[in-house]
Symmetry: C2
Subunit: 223 residues, 2 copies
């Protein structure tokens, strides 16, 4: 059985104060936090399974599985040998910094180099809240369509990296990667776009390389 | 160019008061309102295009296209000969009853028998707000997975009808319709489940029959 924690939203106006506390806590323990955001069913948990396998042995990983309900994702993560905490958001459609702090405090952070926050499946609200994470990554899955940046611009503006998942189905869904890249570039010139299939494994190695480079660059001892 | 209206959220505690106003307005004009909810990219606009074609000549239809941004959906709807109003939610992840009232007031309701509210793409927040609609319909698309009722239970509890879209891709995504039906039944015994493909048109006639039956049963002259 994975652990389950019920968290409560903080005061919205004080979110930045909590985000600073998250960053301080992470720095103290030399742990990095990645905020993973996507629509329901885009493949967040499948990507994390592949990522845990890809980094195995090199980094000690924990996952905060934020959901309105259920603990199916936490069980999937633990089957891959990483620590998982199921975080119930009490109906909230996103994780804020206060909720993230409550969840991180469930972990002995000295035991982990890297924590993934699997945010609630939603392209609107999670984009609005700084959680104190070092990196924001989103998954857009091919069946959702290449026009999504036009409809959920804030998410595409704030993210550092966009994983285009289920790329093996691009022909079935008439998905145009170049059109997506153009739509993203109009909002965010710096976002890295990596096509992957968490199902076939195709492209996942490019994501692992990107992540390893980030982890190497984030050398806490320099600070 | 489709019309664009910017709406503002009402006070949450007063949502039921606004929902009652929506119902009163609809009754006065003998117009029906359907709240259509789904994740981003599940196929809401494609379904509406097929629905407008399927009801053409029998009912006068308008669509409220709620989005955080953009007006691509409204233009698609108008190309099918229905009236469309693009509703910008000012960053809100859902439509509440006050916002729905503001949007409906943009229409001359005597000209329409049926209004669809295409809600913001999100499985969490739209489920929490009564908009005053006569019917709640959600789309779950096959690539999202058959486990979604476990993770977004409120949406599956409140909905009257679940359209399982992109059913032509069920084998690719290993989607088990019976498993979905079981997951839904544990939350909502009365929800009607209709598998469709808004892309191939398969199953859409079952949805049109369901909708026509609802429209016939809602005979305002009986009240």
């Amino acid at each position: 059985m994975s652990e389950i924690i019920e968290v409560k939203a903080g005061i919205e106006a004080e979110n930045e104060k909590y985000a600073a506390e998250v960053r301080k806590l992470l720095r103290h323990h030399q742990t990095r936090l990645i905020n993973l955001m996507a629509s329901p069913g885009a493949g967040k948990t499948s990507l994390l399974e592949q990522t845990i396998d890809g980094l195995k042995g090199a980094y000690r990983i924990a996952v905060l599985e934020a959901d309105v309900d259920a603990d199916v994702d936490a069980r999937r993560i633990e089957a891959h040998g990483a620590k998982a905490v199921q975080v119930h958001t009490g109906g909230s459609c996103h994780m804020d910094a206060s909720m993230t702090l409550q969840a991180l405090q469930m972990l002995n952070l000295d035991d982990y180099d890297l924590v993934f926050l699997e945010n609630v499946g939603n392209l609107v609200c999670p984009a609005e809240f700084d959680t104190g994470a070092d990196l924001k990554v989103m998954i857009l899955s091919v069946p959702e369509g290449d026009d999504k940046p036009l409809k959920y611009p804030l998410m595409f503006k704030v993210t550092d990296c966009i994983l285009v998942n289920k790329i093996d189905t691009d022909e079935i869904f008439d998905f145009d990667l170049q059109k997506l890249e153009k739509n993203v570039a109009s909002l965010n010139e710096n976002a890295r776009i990596i096509p992957i299939s968490a199902f076939t494994g195709s492209g996942v190695e490019n994501w692992i390389v990107y992540l390893r480079e980030k982890l190497m660059a984030w050398n806490y001892s320099c600070h």
